[in-house]
Structure formats: C-alpha cells, structure tokens
C-alpha cells in the first residue's frame, strides 16, 4: 500500500508527505494499541483467572474443636444474595454455595457412606434492592469443570465424583440409591481434588430431604481483587482507623473477604491463598512485561519515525536553499517546516489513534474474546506525541540545510 504510494504520485512533495504521515500513523498506532493493551491486560487476565476457582471461602465460624471435625453448623442461604449488596459487589463474579452432608450410597451391589453435597449449578438470583438477576452456582466459580455425561436436570439427577464412581462402578446414566431414594447419575466429575469422592445434587431438594431448609455449609466466592501489597498484609486489627478505612475500601482479597464475612451471620470468610497470592504476583508480572514492551516499542517507533522524517526532508535541502537564496530568514524557514511537521504529526497521530482502535480491539477479541477498553484520553496523547516526534525529526535536516551555503546546493551537491 505504502509502496504503491511511493511510485504513484508525480508530485514528490505529496509523496513524501504521505510517506511521513503514514510512518507517523503506523508508529502512533503501534504505541497507542500497546498502551491500550497494557492498561487493560491485567483486568482481562484477572477476569480470566477468576473462572478457574474461587478466591474466598465463607464457612461457619469455628467456636470449638467439635466444629472442625463435624459439619453441624451452617450459614443461611438467604444471606447469599447480600453479597451483591456489599461495597465491592461489582467485583463479585462468582458465588457457589454448598451443603455438605453424609449419605448412604448403594449401587452395583455395594453400600457405603459418601459425602453428598448440595449445590447450585447455574442459578439466577434476583439482585437485592435492584432490578435484574445475577448468576450464581458452580459454573460461575469452576468454569473448568468437565462433566463426563451431562449436567443434572431436575432433582432426581446427580453428579458422581470419579473416585466414588469407580469405587461403586457407576457410569453416567446409571440409577443408584442415595439414602434409599432412587436417583440417576447424569454425569461423572474429575477434578483431582476431594470432590472426586463426593456426590453432587441440587441444593434445594437436599435441604428439604435433610431437614436443613435455608442452610448451607460453605459458600465459595470468586471476586476480582486488587493485588496484595505490603500494606494489605498488615493485620487489620493493628491498623489505625484511617488505615483500616483505606484497607476496607480497597479491593484486596482480604477486605472483600471481610465484607463477605459481615453479610453472612456467624461466618468466617478467608481468602483461598493458593489462588489469591499467585494471582497478584502473576498479574503484576504480566503488567510489568507489557509496560516494558510498550516502552521499548515507543522508543523504537519514535526513532523509526524520525529516520523517515530525516530521509524525507533531506531531499528538500534544495528547496530550503532556494528559499534562503530568495531571502527568507532562518526563522521563517524553521517556522514553515516545523508547521509542516506539526501538521503531519496531527494527521499521523489521528490516523494512528484510529488505526490503534482496530488493532487493539482485534487483539482483545482474539486473546480474551472481548474487546479492550478504548480510552479517548489516548487521542490527545497520541496526537501530542506524534507532533513531538515529527517536529523532532524535522529539526536535524533543517539545521543541516540551513548550515550549507545555498549556491552549492543549487548546483547539485547534496
């Protein structure tokens, strides 16, 4: 495209103007799209990671040793919706309550005890105090769960963990007895974790069967968080009031956990550190990586654009000499060429910005399946830096041209 421009037009002036504008536009587009990517990448990756497991665990508060070995204490399921009313409600992207209970399983001629968990798979919950719903359930915190067979439909279907399924020779589609009640196994689940030994069924029927209406034993919460820093690791109890306020109003995983704890009666909410600690670190690295790339691309494209400007203007040395010969003073020549450089900078910056929207949008869609946030503030920055770069590229050739006696240049020396 650009190469054709070079050969096409007869008017050299227009040609090199186009060349310079294109070069600046491409440089600006590169930098602007990298900035767009770098500003958004942490948020995108963080969102991406959030679907790979909850980072906050809400459990009934432990009062004595007996609470640890048994699961006799519960949270109220009516408190779940309140999570969407806390200060950081918009950061909560997944909620999954579980009710753990013991059941007797008989299948394939064998009988034995098994952990039976009641859960939501994917459930629409009305937002508290607002119109609309939000989605909660296993799929919002464990998007990676793969069910061999299919997800259960209705209250008579269950999922069997793969170890339990192997132990009792259960395959998807089989019919088994749980506490004497006949249910169908719609699928099996393998996570590599303790869930492999469990059975899952819909929460409400389990609550009913067990006589535990409105009770859940734990709630997993997936929240978008601010990476932990040194301040965040301070013990909230030793903070001054203003520090505590700052901590409480920052989206650290610990402060969101604290707010979750406050909405569940008799609860204790803790970050799942394995997830929370890694994420912060990884996100920091990724952002830093992209920033550094951005900086090196910025430097390279600035110099790249300047070389184009210099090359293009060097051929106009004759023109400058002629102006000088016609009596133009230095100042007038400099003003003229700088004005031209600024004009090219404006045009290049504008095109570059527009071009960068396409590029970064494409990258966002390709990598994260959603567009990146486009920032209008980049437009003046893009134009501003394009002007600076193009003006900088203008200075060297003009200085060179001005330092040569016009007579020599007009005779053909370059």
């Amino acid at each position: 495209m650009l190469l054709n421009i070079i050969g096409r037009s007869f008017l050299n002036q227009k040609k090199s103007m186009a060349l310079m504008t294109a070069s600046i536009a491409v440089g600006t587009a590169l930098v602007a799209s990298l900035i767009t990517v770098s500003l958004d990448v942490a948020a995108k990756v963080s969102k991406e990671l959030r679907s790979f497991g909850a980072n906050i665990l809400v459990e009934p508060k432990v009062e004595g040793l007996a609470d640890i070995s048994g699961h006799k204490r519960y949270l109220r399921s009516e408190d779940i919706a309140k999570l969407k009313a806390i200060f950081w409600r918009h950061n909560i992207v997944g909620i999954a309550p579980f009710l753990k209970s013991d059941a007797v399983l008989s299948a394939g001629g064998k009988e034995g005890g098994v952990t039976l968990a009641g859960a939501w798979y994917e459930k629409e919950i009305p937002l508290p105090g607002e119109a609309g719903n939000f989605t909660a359930g296993i799929k919002t915190v464990y998007s990676w769960w793969e069910i061999k067979g299919r997800w259960p439909q209705g209250k008579d279907e269950i999922i069997a963990g793969v170890s339990a399924a192997t132990q009792y020779s259960i395959s998807p589609g089989d019919s088994i007895l749980l506490d004497g009640r006949r249910v169908t196994v719609s699928g099996t689940l393998e996570t590599g974790g303790p869930e492999d030994g469990w059975m899952f069924m819909d929460l409400a029927p389990l609550q009913e069967v067990k006589g535990l209406d409105g009770k859940v034993s734990r709630v997993l919460v997936s929240a978008l968080t601010t990476p932990m820093d040194d301040f965040a690791y301070k013990d909230p109890e030793s903070m001054s009031i203003s520090e505590y306020e700052k901590w409480y109003c920052t989206g650290y995983v610990t402060s969101i956990a604290k707010q979750a704890e406050e909405v569940f009666e008799g609860s204790s909410a803790r970050p799942i550190w394995q997830v929370a600690a890694t994420e912060g670190k990884v996100l920091e690295k990724i952002s830093l990586l992209i920033y550094l790339l951005c900086a090196s691309a910025l430097a390279a494209s600035a110099i790249g654009v300047s070389t184009t400007m210099i090359m293009s203007l060097l051929r106009r040395v004759e023109e400058i000499a002629l102006m000088k010969a016609l009596g133009a003073d230095r100042w007038r020549i400099i003003t003229l060429f700088l004005a031209e450089g600024i004009l090219i900078g404006i045009a290049g910056g504008l095109f570059g910005y527009l071009f960068s929207i396409g590029v970064s949008e494409y990258i966002g869609l390709k990598v994260f399946d959603s567009g990146l946030q486009q920032r209008a503030v980049l437009l003046p920055i893009a134009i501003g830096s394009a002007i600076v770069i193009s003006a900088a590229g203008t200075v060297l050739p003009i200085r060179r041209a001005l330092s040569i006696r016009p007579g020599i240049i007009l005779k053909g020396a370059r």
């Binding site: 650009l2 432990v62 803790r270 394995q274 494209s301 790249g304 090359m311």
Partner: protein, 364 residues
C-alpha cells in the same frame, strides 16, 4: 573485472553517502532489534510465566495405589523425572486433642517457606515446634507459643505452636509439623501418604503417564483447577505476545519501508539517469539491492545484539531472570534484517523503473 567496477561504484556510493546509509541502517537496526526482542520474549514467556505460577502450588497429586502409604523414596524417584519442578512428600495422620480428632500434616516445613506461605507468629525452628491452622486457632483460642498436647499412635506428645497459617483450604483445620515429628507421633517411619508434584505447565499429561510408567503401583491425579488455569493463562499470554509481535513486525517493516522509500525517492533522478544512459533494469536494481543488503546486514547484526540485550533487560525487569538464548535467533534476526531492508528498497526501485527515463528526468 565487471565485478571490480561494480564494487568500485558501490563503495563510492556508500562512502559519499555515509549519513544516508547510517540513517537507513539505524532504521533497520531498530526494527530488527524490537522484533528480535519480541520473538525472544514470546518464546520465553511460557517458561518464565510458568515458573511464576509455581506459587499456584502442585498440579499433580501422587497417592498410594494400594494401602495408605508408600516409601519415602517415592518422592525422590518422582523428583528425578524431567519436567518435575518440585515434589513434596506429605504424611497424613490424625491425633487426638482432648476429645476431638484432628488432622496432622507432616512435611518439609522449609518447602512451605519457599512456596511463599505466610505465617502469623514464627516459623517452627526447633524440634517440637509446629504450625496450627487458622480454624484451630479460633477453636482453641490459643496464642503463639502455647503448648498443645497431641495423642497419637505412640502416646502423648507436647508441641509448641510457633505460628498459625491461613490458607483457605484443608490446612486451616490441621496441625502442620516436620515430617519426622509426624512419623514419631504416628508411630511409623520412612513412609509418605502423598507426594504433591509440580510439573511444568503445558506438559502435564505426558508427565502423568511418565510417573505412572515409572511407578506403576501409585495413583496419579492431575489437580485440574491449577492445571487448567495455568494452561489457559499461558496460552493466552503466548497468543497475546504473538499478536503483539506481528503488530510490531508490521510497524517496524513500514518504518523501514518509509525510510528506505524516502531514500529511493531522493535518488529517482539518479535512477532515471542510469536508465537513460543505457543501464538495464536488473543492472540498476542490483546496485540498490546491494546497498539494501549491506544495510540489512548491518541492521540485522546490530539489531540482533540490541534486541537480545533489550529482551534480557525486559526479562530481568519483569521476571528477575534471563531468557535462555534461542539458537535460531541470530539467523532469524539477520534474515529479517535482510528481507525487510531488501524488500523496502526493491519495491520503490521497481516502481521508479516502471517510468520512462524521460518522465523521471523531466520531474527533476
């Protein structure tokens, strides 16, 4: 002879136009260096970021296939397999604390520190010191340095709780102690109940089958939450870097094209003249191609050095370690330098050659 004169005019053209050649070379150096550094980082990002994910913890759990334990040496055997970043043996047992039964986890405490666990209080230093989970702290209402009395298979032992851990997992309900203490408490020796393995992200399936091949009697499971999160993150990052590399490559190529294009525009008259005095198209092309190749060579070589240096600087900055060099990188840099430089001057020269010399000379 013909070649000698070609070289003569070629040298003249270079030595009299040093500034132009330097600017063109600079453009190529920059283009090649940024592309080289992008390629270098893209190919290293998987590994670098993968090792950052170490903190995610183990992604494979090896447990006894039959019975409830296997020899201590199993962890050693697993550690020897390639692609195993670490393998931590664990001992699980229970002990009575008062009337209640609680979980005991025995492992190498130093490994927890390495993995970045945080402890409120102190890490166990001396024999008989242990960590307690956050739930135990709440249940027992104890403070650091208090003594708990645990009753295991070998009778009652007193332990000093030096600190507490909060993980949001099963550890929160357990007492964590050095492996030897757990063995002593349980009345066993030299056995493990599980080995937590961290395999290099991306090759887990292979690793699982390799462990199974080497140790047929154990059960190997992938911890899918960690594995799938890592895999997805790494492939996204690699895709991101690849796309950014392509964008950078494109931008760099355009930048070189416009610099070289401006150079050829400047020399239109010269090209027209050569044509007018009877030079053939190929005779002219070869002149400019030679210069472009030289510029490409300079740019490719210097760009490689600069690019590797900047990739290492970026890697140092972001990951605190160097990226291993790829064998193909010097070659790739050189080829990229030659191709973009030659391409950037070939096409404008070809376009100028399309015109009759009369047209070009009239313009000047």
């Amino acid at each position: 002879m013909k070649r000698r004169w070609f070289l003569y005019f070629f040298k003249r053209s270079l030595s009299q136009r040093k500034g132009r050649v330097a600017i063109a070379s600079l453009a190529v150096v920059l283009a090649v260096s940024i592309i080289t550094s992008m390629i270098s980082i893209t190919s290293g990002v998987r590994e670098k970021l993968g090792s950052e994910l170490k903190a995610y913890g183990s992604n494979i759990i090896v447990s006894p296939g039959r019975g409830s334990s296997f020899p201590f040496e199993t962890a050693e055997a697993i550690r020897r397999i390639d692609d195993v970043e670490y393998a931590v043996g664990q001992v699980f047992t229970t002990a009575r604390l008062g009337k209640e039964s609680i979980e005991i986890i025995g492992l190498d405490i130093a490994k927890l520190r390495e993995a970045g666990w945080r402890v409120s209080g102190e890490w166990p230093q001396k024999e008989g010191e242990v960590l307690a989970g956050a739930n135990l702290k709440a249940a027992l209402k104890i403070k650091p340095d208090e003594i708990v009395s645990l009753e295991g298979g070998r009778g009652r032992t007193d332990f000093r709780v030096s600190g507490f851990v909060e993980r949001g997992g099963a550890e929160d309900n357990a007492v964590i102690m050095p492996m030897a203490s757990a063995w002593r408490l349980a009345g066993v020796n030299g056995v493990l109940n599980a080995v937590l393995v961290r395999g290099r992200a991306g090759g887990l399936d292979n690793l699982v089958s390799e462990i199974k091949r080497g140790l047929p009697e154990v059960s190997v499971k992938t911890f899918r939450q960690v594995a799938s999160a890592e895999e997805s993150l790494l492939s996204k990052m690699q895709l991101l870097m690849s796309l950014v590399t392509i964008v950078v490559l494109f931008a760099a190529a355009i930048s070189v094209a416009s610099t070289m294009g401006a150079n050829i525009l400047e020399r239109r008259e010269e090209i027209g003249l050569m044509k007018a005095i009877g030079a053939t198209g190929s005779g002219i092309r070869i002149f400019y191609l030679a210069e472009a190749l030289l510029v490409g060579f300079i740019g490719g070589t210097a760009g490689f050095i600069l690019g590797v240096a900047s990739a290492q600087a970026v890697s140092r900055g972001a990951f605190g370690s160097f990226i291993p060099a790829q064998w193909y990188l010097p070659l790739a840099s050189l080829i990229i330098g030659l191709v973009i430089s030659a391409g950037a001057s070939y096409f404008p020269v070809r376009d100028v050659l399309k015109y009759n010399p009369a047209v070009i000379l009239r313009e000047e």
